[in-house]
């Protein structure tokens, strides 16, 4: 096949020594930046992009691919170790990852995360290699109505599936949606629920909210006398313990593969992105996985599902960028700027007009992914030693990182105030069994949901039937209702059976 020949040519370029060094350097830098709370992939890539201008284009792109992957790997580390997701896709990783840390098994979570990230990334790249532009065509089938239905599926299952009590879960996601409406309304330009505050008019930022609700509320729990939220491992954690044995590798293999496929698919839909991907993959695992009962209580499958899906989605975002010139995520938009700097214009013609570049980039993704796996494994012992720090020292470190991290997002003290406020709120919500992840996920998904619903209704001139006339949207909605009604129906059936007896 022609594609593979071109890919092979790309590899011969990518394996030159300076290019390998660039990939390694990029991977390590990316991991470090990705692990910093408050500095997400977008900031990381844009800070490091100028560095690559001094290199020749191919080396530059390879380094960028390393940075991009490193970021995706790194986000999982702070989520696992401190319960502070570095970026929104890592929210789902924190659920099981931090739980494993509390049980004294952080190494397992980091290891599983690395392996799953690698699987997710690889599957994404393989799909990109084989199908490329074809995938973009599928993505285009998702217009406003379809995207709205997809996010509706995610939104409803959030509250339903996380936490023990569906009512509280749904309240939590409702609160997340209401919080997201603070600020300028995307469609009309009207400021909403701003209470006349200049900082609220520009809306609430996600990162301070996450840092507060996860990290800060965690410290508040640590301060509680007799709390055991942060186990102090008495013995030294060895690297060997963190390796997954054969049966554990087997346990994460299928979830990773499933999640990677789903994540990759969602990645190339317009505007859905890694968060939706990792969330839906987690939900799927909770529904169909072998170990579903343990999900949320420290299951390596949970970490694997989330990480595989968000890495696959990150690659998926390249599909519309390369084949249509439309960046699928904020990070790929930064890369678009870089490509233009090298005089390339992504678009339908790029695959034909610049095959060396495209295939060089794709082959560099394989290398970037592999390098990050190696770097990620090598960094585990270092991360583990971080956990030997006792709670008494850990608490101030986390508080300082919370403050500095939330300030860094917008360079605005208001975000720090908001972070503290969110932390206190989350602390009391958690105490009364309201789950926190639905608040955050609803907050991330709601703006896209709102604009898609309103676009769909605008196109149809206000006719709500538009959601039922489009086959994909209708299918997604039916699936949502089936998902919601299944437990209720089962209960009723069980009751009837019981009463007959």
């Amino acid at each position: 096949m022609n594609n593979f020949e071109l890919l092979f040519q790309g590899f011969t370029v990518a394996f030159a020594l300076p290019n390998l060094i660039a990939a390694l350097l990029g991977g390590i830098l990316g991991i470090v930046v990705g692990a910093m709370p408050g500095i997400g992939a977008v900031t990381g890539v844009s800070l490091l992009l100028p560095m690559t201008f001094k290199l020749n284009p191919t080396t530059g792109i390879i380094m960028l691919a390393g940075i991009y992957y490193g970021n995706m790997y790194g986000g999982a580390y702070s989520a696992t170790l401190m319960n502070i997701p570095g970026d929104s896709p890592a929210v789902m990783t924190a659920l099981d990852g931090y739980e494993l840390t509390k049980q004294g098994k952080p190494g397992k979570s980091l290891f599983a995360g690395n392996v799953a990230s690698f699987i997710g990334g690889s599957i994404g790249i393989i799909f990109l290699t084989i199908f490329g532009p074809l995938l973009a065509e599928v993505g285009l089938k998702f217009g406003p109505a379809e995207v709205a239905a997809l996010i509706f599926l995610a939104l409803t299952s959030i509250g339903w599936l996380l936490g023990d009590d569906p009512v509280k879960g749904l309240i939590a996601s409702g609160i997340g949606v209401l919080l997201s409406t603070i600020g300028i309304d995307g469609a009309s330009g009207l400021p909403r629920f701003s209470f006349g505050n200049m900082n609220l008019i520009s809306g609430i930022s996600f990162i301070p909210l996450v840092i507060g609700m996860f990290g800060f509320s965690q410290v508040m729990e640590m301060m509680q006398p007799g709390s055991s939220t942060h186990a102090e491992p008495a013995k030294r954690l060895t690297l060997r313990e963190s390796f997954l044995d054969r049966s554990e590798m087997k346990r994460i293999l299928m979830p990773s593969l499933r999640s990677a496929l789903l994540g990759n698919f969602i990645g190339f839909l317009p505007g859905a992105g890694g968060t939706t991907g990792s969330f839906l993959a987690y939900v799927m695992e909770k529904k169909v996985g072998k170990n579903r009962a343990q999900m949320g209580k420290g299951a390596i499958e949970g970490v694997a599902a989330s990480e595989a899906a968000n890495n696959a989605a990150a690659v998926g975002a390249f599909v519309p960028l390369l084949s249509l010139g439309i960046p699928g995520s904020a990070t790929t938009a930064v890369l678009l700027g870089g490509l233009m700097m090298w005089g390339l214009r992504p678009g339908p013609l790029l695959f034909e007009s610049d095959p060396t570049f495209v295939w060089g980039l794709i082959s560099s993704m394989y290398i970037g992914n592999l390098v990050c796996l190696v770097a990620g494994m090598a960094i585990i012992p270092f991360l583990m030693s971080f956990l030997r720090i006792p709670t008494k020292i850990m608490a101030p470190i986390i508080v300082i990182i919370c403050i500095v991290g939330s300030y860094s997002v917008n360079n605005n003290m208001f975000d720090v105030w908001f972070m503290i406020f969110a932390g206190i709120g989350a602390f009391y919500l958690k105490r009364y069994a309201f789950p926190i992840p639905p608040v955050l996920l609803a907050f991330v998904l709601a703006p896209r949901f709102e604009i898609s619903v309103r676009q769909a209704l605008s196109i149809s001139n206000g006719n709500a039937m538009v959601f039922l006339q489009k086959p994909i949207a209708l299918g997604l909605l039916l699936f949502t209702f089936a998902l919601l009604l299944a437990p209720v129906v089962m209960k009723i059936v069980a009751k009837i059976k019981k009463s007959y007896k």
Binding site: V33, M36, I39, T43, L47, V167, L170, G174, I175, V177, L178, T181, D185, S188, L190, R192, F193, F216, V219, M220, E221, M223, Q224, P225, G226, S227, S228, T229, K392, I393, A395, P396, V399, I400, C402, I403, V404, Y407, S408, N411, M413, V416, W417, M419, I420, G423, I424, F427, Y428, K430, R431, Y432, A433, E450, V453, R454, L457, S458, N461, G462
Partner: protein, 162 residues
């Protein structure tokens, strides 16, 4: 407390509903307006928190002696949850963080971080002065190197000018 939370949610969603309908508009010119999503979701939150409220009142009536909520997030703390000390202790980080905000604004990030780290380790965790010093120095160095020097986050400059 659970009742209070449910009431807070109902009030908040009530405000969102009122503003959404009266100020922003549910449907404008035959198309959904700015109040469309706020109205729909505030109704949802309102109904669900009403359910939560009813349930909370019922369980309280059923077991008035035991005020501890059923599904406590961390079961280990439920032992003496009502004593004032345990109630206030979790708020210490919040108080310190607020002090930290002012410290960063007026003293600059390096001094502020050093102060928070040192005071916390010394007075809250009761380490010796020497050890507190040993612990806070790497924290300050880490924050400075990563956030200020490398990532160039523009922190406010305090009276010392950095």
């Amino acid at each position: 407390m659970e009742i209070l939370l449910a009431l807070v949610f109902m009030t908040v969603s009530g405000y969102w509903l009122q503003q959404g309908l009266a100020v922003y508009g549910f449907y404008v010119d035959g198309k959904p307006g700015s109040g469309f999503i706020p109205v729909l979701f505030s109704i949802l939150v309102m109904i669900l928190s009403a359910i939560a409220l009813v349930r909370a009142v019922r369980t309280k009536r059923a077991a008035p002696s035991k005020a501890t909520p059923a599904g406590d997030a961390s079961p280990t703390v439920s032992a003496d949850i009502d004593s004032w000390k345990t109630r206030l202790q979790p708020l210490i980080p919040a108080a310190i963080a607020i002090v930290g905000i002012y410290a960063i604004t007026y003293l600059g990030v390096v001094v502020a971080v050093a102060l928070i780290a040192f005071c916390w380790v010394r007075f809250l965790s009761h380490y010796t002065v020497v050890r507190s010093f040993l612990f806070s120095v790497p924290i300050v160095l880490f924050i400075y190197v990563v956030f200020v020097w490398w990532l160039r986050v523009p922190f406010p400059r305090g009276v010392f000018g950095f």
